[in-house]
């Protein structure tokens, strides 16, 4: 049987030779992402982090969107109203609703969502179905932002500590550099495509971080093994060899993961699309960072060459 070979058995791609080209690409992508996040088009904050109200509803017949807009602005509430999927479905999104005199800001969101629902029943008839309601108070949205940031920071720190423990400090630093790269560019892509930036995206980023470090560790493992095997080989040459040896695995695992995610993006429904897209992009970015950020970083810092006494599974001492 002839088997599919995506990557030839023996490759000799001089990855490290392209490290300066890669650095330019990396920096451009990195700063473009920062631009997309902070300047234009900016993050499209979801209700989790922004606070306020998201309401999705379905009517029996196509919804008269201008009528919905009028009914909501009659309440004195600023909202965006969009068709969502089908003409019978509408999504209403507000920011934090300003509290009236004497009202608590947290309670105000709850009062307003009740008013909007009533207005929708009055405008569209009582058989309108509310598919999804999300009402997040300013108190909670602030906490969720904090928790999200902590999650990403702690996850990165935990992985760096693990790699430090298993290899050497600079290897851990290289992996974290990759993580920062992946996080920023993934968020940048989320901003660029204007996906809703919410808790699910934080989960997506954590997954991407996990995947990217996973990828990096496979490469590092091979570099360490080759350091033991070829004690005199030039480090750049050795890193290239290791990257080429693990290239098939990198491509195959990335490929199957992306295949699975593509199925989710295409058939998994509207709700998860942004989430799965973020992971899919992130896996591509994470694969790139293992090859062109984390591994070449070791060239910059140098590594311990004598691993002879360290057996597999034992702690490496720098």
């Amino acid at each position: 049987m002839k088997l599919l070979k995506l990557i030839p058995d023996k490759t000799a791609i001089p990855f490290t030779k392209y490290r300066w080209h890669a650095l330019v690409i990396t920096l451009v992508a990195f700063f473009a992402s920062l631009f997309a996040i902070f300047i234009a088009p900016g993050l499209n904050y979801g209700v989790d982090f922004r606070g306020g109200i998201t309401l999705e509803l379905t009517d029996r017949q196509p919804v008269d969107i201008p009528a919905v807009r009028n009914a909501i602005s009659a309440l004195g509430v600023e909202a965006t109203v969009q068709q969502f999927g089908a003409p019978e479905k509408v999504k209403i999104v507000t920011g934090i609703v300003a509290a009236e005199e004497g009202e608590d800001a947290d309670a105000a969101q709850q009062i307003v969502v009740g008013r909007i629902e009533q207005a929708m029943r009055d405008t569209l008839g009582s058989d309108v179905v509310f598919d999804r309601r999300e009402v997040v108070s300013p108190t909670v949205s602030g906490e969720l932002v904090q928790r999200g940031i902590w999650a990403v920071v702690l996850a990165s720190a935990g992985m760096m500590a693990y790699i430090w423990f298993r290899y050497q400090l600079q290897w851990g630093a290289g992996a974290v550099l990759g993580v920062v790269h992946d996080t920023v560019i993934t968020i940048g892509l989320v901003a660029l495509f204007q996906f809703s930036f919410d808790l699910n995206v934080i989960a997506a980023i954590l997954t991407v971080i996990g995947y990217s470090v996973n990828d990096t560790v496979v490469v590092y493992d091979r570099i360490r093994e080759n350091l033991r095997k070829y004690k005199k080989m030039d480090l750049a040459e050795l890193i290239d060899l290791s990257l080429n040896e693990t290239l098939t695995r990198t491509v195959v695992t990335g490929g199957t993961s992306i295949l699975a995610l593509a199925a989710l993006v295409l058939f998994g429904g509207e709700v998860l699309r942004g989430f799965c897209f973020a992971i899919m992009f992130g896996i591509i970015v994470g694969t790139y960072s293992s090859l062109f950020v984390a591994a070449p970083f070791l060239l910059l810092t140098g590594v311990k060459r004598d691993w002879a006494k360290v057996k597999v599974g034992e702690t490496a001492k720098a």
């Binding site: 049987m1 088997l3 070979k5 995506l6 999705e56 379905t58 947290d106 309670a107 709850q110 009740g114 179905v129 509310f130 598919d131 999804r132 309601r133 999300e134 009402v135 997040v136 108190t139 969720l144 999650a151 702690l154 996850a155 935990g158 693990y162 298993r166 808790l199 699910n200 989960a203 997954t207 996990g210 995947y211 470090v213 996973n214 560790v217 496979v218 493992d221 091979r222 040896e245 098939t248 695995r249 195959v252 199957t256 993961s257 992306i258 295949l259 699975a260 995610l261 199925a263 295409l266 058939f267 998994g268 429904g269 709700v271 998860l272 989430f275 799965c276 992971i279 597999v312 599974g313």
Partner: protein
């Protein structure tokens, strides 16, 4: 080490079979599972609110208000203690005792230095009545400096009172939402001042909020007809009276009431909604406990012919005229109630008052229709993903790809088995976690197979190449999966609802996929190689 001992084989295959058995209940309805014999596994994977539809509410308990209420009461009590009564003499204060909410303290200045000792004694006696908090700590510290006495609530006491308020609120919320205790509602504390309510299926969070957010403070007041509400509002309100709005159902308007309640809601023992005895509309029947019955009997005996008002959360819901003394300890509220409103008020009265108002901080609800769509889409996507990955593995690794496929299927069985045993909740992101695991599960196999390819290229025989492949790939597999576990663990710690569902399936999936790749694939591949001893293998 491709050989497995018999007991090892039995253990490995046994694990998969057991997992499969535990996964079985998920494919039957709850009623069918309930009818199974006792030894059969019954634990199922619950569907999250985003998949079956339902409401999630995060409520904040205003514990600060509970503390302030306590201190306000204590201040009144201290003031009372300074007045003369019986043999007790009067202690003159320079001013009303001052309450400082920032330090949880009350300060009083005694006018006459000779009285300080006596005043301090009375305050101490009063604050000791509260009993001990925790390990011998008194709830209040009393400090005397010159003519100034400061009563400070101990931080331990503050915490204890806050916890008490939280626990009481949870009880009240439970009695309101789930009076019969037969609904699948999850109500639990979160942190020091939060309550999480998860009600599956119930797609009207507005109704839920309405019944939760009302304080439920019920009281019976004497109506003062000597002053008209308009006069009272114009400023001639006699002391000890209050102006209270009348419910819309009773025609609206205002009433002047005596501030002091004759009977309060905590003396009501039971309440239920029923059809109005006089025909038309609904009424609320209630009965008092002993204390309430006696008070109510005394009151109605002395005030026949007068109006009295029933006040719920600062609104008069009914103000009947007392026709005859009511001595039976029960009565009815005959407002102009719609059936569901009568029901709601009855539940409110029965459940008692909340110790502090609740604020809804976070509300999420998903309609059952949308949930069902998500389940369908998720299942479809999972099957397609599985098909694609299997096809890819077969094309790339041939026979060994088939082994990896078997391991992948065993992996899925293991995931469902473990999730069932844990009785965990499957959310939409959780489905994504499983799909992602399908994609990533093959990673360990890929690492191993690539190693075998390399060793074959180095001229090793199939059996030794396979042996070396498994052992050399191990350190990369272990390290790379531990890092993914670290990410999943952080998500479990910090994530909210659906994200935790994702983290859980990801973590379970990582562990089972390593097991299935390293142990199961090796078992199958090893059996083939040792039985056939092929000269060459392709992969």
């Amino acid at each position: 080490m491709l050989q497995y001992r018999l007991w090892q084989r039995v253990l490995i295959i046994g694990a998969v079979v057991v997992a499969a058995l535990f996964a079985v209940p998920n494919f039957f309805s709850k009623e069918e599972v309930a009818a199974w014999p006792g030894f059969a596994p019954k634990s199922r994977i619950a569907l999250g609110l985003d998949l079956q539809g339902g409401s999630y509410l995060l409520l904040g308990v205003d514990t600060d208000k509970v503390i302030t209420d306590r201190l306000t009461n204590l201040r009144q009590e201290i003031q009372r203690q300074m007045r003369p009564q019986g043999s007790r003499t009067r202690v003159a204060l320079e001013a009303l005792p001052a309450l400082d909410a920032a330090t949880d303290s009350i300060t009083l200045r005694v006018r006459d230095a000779a009285d300080v000792e006596e005043a301090a004694k009375r305050v101490r006696d009063l604050t000791r009545g509260g009993g001990l908090i925790g390990a011998g700590v008194r709830p209040y510290d009393v400090i005397v400096e010159g003519n100034r006495i400061t009563v400070t609530m101990h931080p331990e006491a503050r915490r204890a009172y806050g916890q008490e308020a939280l626990a009481d609120s949870i009880e009240v919320v439970r009695r309101r939402i789930d009076p019969a205790g037969n609904k699948e509602v999850l109500i639990q504390a979160q942190g020091e001042d939060r309550i999480v309510v998860q009600a599956p299926g119930d797609n009207d969070p507005e109704a839920l909020k309405q019944i939760i957010n009302r304080t439920g403070q019920l009281s019976f007041h004497r109506v003062d007809t000597s002053v008209s509400p308009s006069e009272a509002q114009a400023g001639v309100l006699p002391p000890g009276r209050m102006v209270t709005p009348i419910a819309e159902t009773e025609g609206g308007g205002l009433l002047v009431l005596f501030e002091e309640a004759e009977v309060t809601g905590d003396m009501v023992e039971s309440a239920s909604a029923g059809v109005n005895d006089d025909g038309g509309g609904f009424q609320i029947n209630f009965s008092f406990d002993q204390r309430g019955a006696r008070r109510f009997a005394d009151y109605t005996r002395e005030h026949v012919g007068e109006l009295f008002a029933i006040v719920l959360d600062g609104e008069v819901i009914s103000y009947p005229r007392i026709q005859t003394p009511i001595t039976g300890g029960s009565g009815r509220i005959t407002g102009n109630f719609a059936p569901d409103e009568a029901q709601r008020i009855a539940t409110l009265i029965r459940s008692g008052a909340l110790p502090a108002p609740l604020t809804t901080l976070d509300q999420r609800s998903v309609g059952p229709g949308l949930g069902a769509d998500s389940v369908r889409a998720g299942a479809e996507a999972s099957l397609i993903a599985l098909g694609l990955v299997i096809a890819f593995m077969l094309l790339t690794y041939g026979r060994f790809g088939f082994y990896a496929t078997l391991a992948l299927l065993a992996n899925l069985v293991l995931i469902f088995g473990v999730l069932s045993i844990l009785g965990s909740t499957l959310t939409l992101p959780g489905i994504a976690g499983i799909v992602l695991t399908i994609g990533m599960a093959v990673d360990a196999n890929v690492l191993i197979f690539e190693r075998i390819r390399e060793e074959l290229a180095n001229g090793k025989t199939p059996i030794s190449a396979t042996e070396i492949g498994f052992s050399k790939a191990f350190s990369a597999i272990a390290d790379s999966n531990i890092t993914t576990l670290i990410a999943a663990w952080i998500m479990l710690m910090l994530g909210a609802g659906p994200v935790r569902g994702f983290a859980l399936t990801l973590a379970v999936g990582v562990v089972t996929s390593v097991f299935s790749a390293i142990v199961i694939t090796r078992l199958i591949a090893g059996s083939y190689l040792l039985a056939k001893r092929p000269k060459t293998i392709t992969l």
